[in-house]
Symmetry: none
Subunit: 227 residues, 2 copies
């Protein structure tokens, strides 16, 4: 199975799009005509189609009608025809989205991701926070140190994520506490130092000489190895 099929006759643009999508982590195949694209669709399963409207031979609309006879895959059409009628025509034939050329790459990437999410039920965007040998996968709610998972409980995890999102900044205890525990929380600020201690045990090479979570005397803490 391949993630994305791009049907685009302009070879440069096709390659550029393919590279972009690969950089976003998708596997990609490229076809230069409707015929070639349909051929590929018959041979293999694709999760999403990026379909140019203006193609030599059969155009994108015809190709989409053909595809919709047997498949319900997500399709985004791309075209230089910015008039509303072609957009509507594409959507009525069964496209999921329509994007005008020229398009911004980040925008088309976000459209592809949103449609993948909606179709294949990926609820959360995969986000990886990395710093100083620590990686946090916020979608999975898991953290790793040098590739090995760090087992931690909810508050430890929330605290680590907060510190990593603000790495390099000296954060006051009050700010950290309010962010992690919530402002209306009834518990004591003292809990913070307890959690800091537990976190250090788990992520520092030498918890006695913390490098990742540094104490800022009379203020709070700072995440980062200080270079």
């Amino acid at each position: 199975m391949t993630d994305i099929l791009i049907i685009e006759d302009n070879e440069d643009l096709g390659q550029l799009l393919a590279d972009l999508m690969r950089r976003e982590g998708f596997s990609v195949s490229l076809a230069k005509s409707a015929e070639e694209g349909l051929e590929l669709l018959g041979q293999e399963v694709f999760r999403l189609l990026l379909l140019d409207v203006m193609l030599p031979g059969r155009d994108g609309f015809e190709a989409l009608s053909e595809i919709r006879r047997s498949r319900d895959m997500p399709v985004i059409m791309m075209s230089a025809m910015t008039d509303d009628d072609s957009k509507i025509k594409g959507m009525e034939i069964g496209a999921d989205d329509y994007i005008d050329k020229p398009f911004s790459f980040p925008v088309i990437a976000s459209k592809v991701k949103a449609l993948m999410r909606r179709t294949y039920e990926r609820v959360t965007e995969k986000e990886l926070l990395t710093a100083c040998g620590i990686t946090v996968d916020t979608g999975a709610r898991r953290a790793y140190k040098d590739g090995k998972e760090i087992g931690m409980n909810g508050k430890e995890y929330d605290l680590l994520v907060y510190l990593m999102r603000h790495k390099g900044q000296a954060l006051s205890k009050e700010v950290i506490f309010n962010a992690v525990w919530g402002e209306d929380c009834c518990s004591e600020l003292a809990s913070l130092s307890v959690y800091i201690s537990w976190l250090r045990d788990k992520i520092e090479d030498d918890p006695k000489k913390p490098r990742l979570i540094q104490t800022v005397y009379r203020v709070g803490y700072r995440f980062g190895d200080g270079q």
Copy 2:
């Protein structure tokens, strides 16, 4: 159940949109602020949300984050900010589409219809989900563990499929419950843990030490053996 909720502070535009959607055959409710919209979302089930970005009080991005904590409903954002950054921001928070103001009514109508189609009328294509020794044949609605069929009832099956489609992700109990039981379901969230328990009995090697369905304390569950 109502088809569409429109959150739009400009009263004239909101009414116009509502009329348009009604003419397309949808039932519509209208809210003039994020707060009012969230209130309505709490009381009733909507199939799709049209969300303005610039709102008094909490803006559309904040409202969307709030909604995504418990719901995976389709959302189209609308904004006069045509810069790519806001589009991308909206999509990353979890919007399905983004439309610039001013928009053509036929275009927004076709977008709504396309997203409704994708979300609710999807032909369930046959699919083989495989992970961690469990295989589910969604065409046949059967599941197997190491090649042997696992006998399970409807809810157990739905739950397993949902978890497997999101393997590796930490999913909140609310999200799982809403996805599997349906948002307008009258039963209690507590049912979820009962079903989790039954599923574990059937798919885990050692149900006392679950590896496939992991508990994410204070959040929900995660499917996957953690590599």
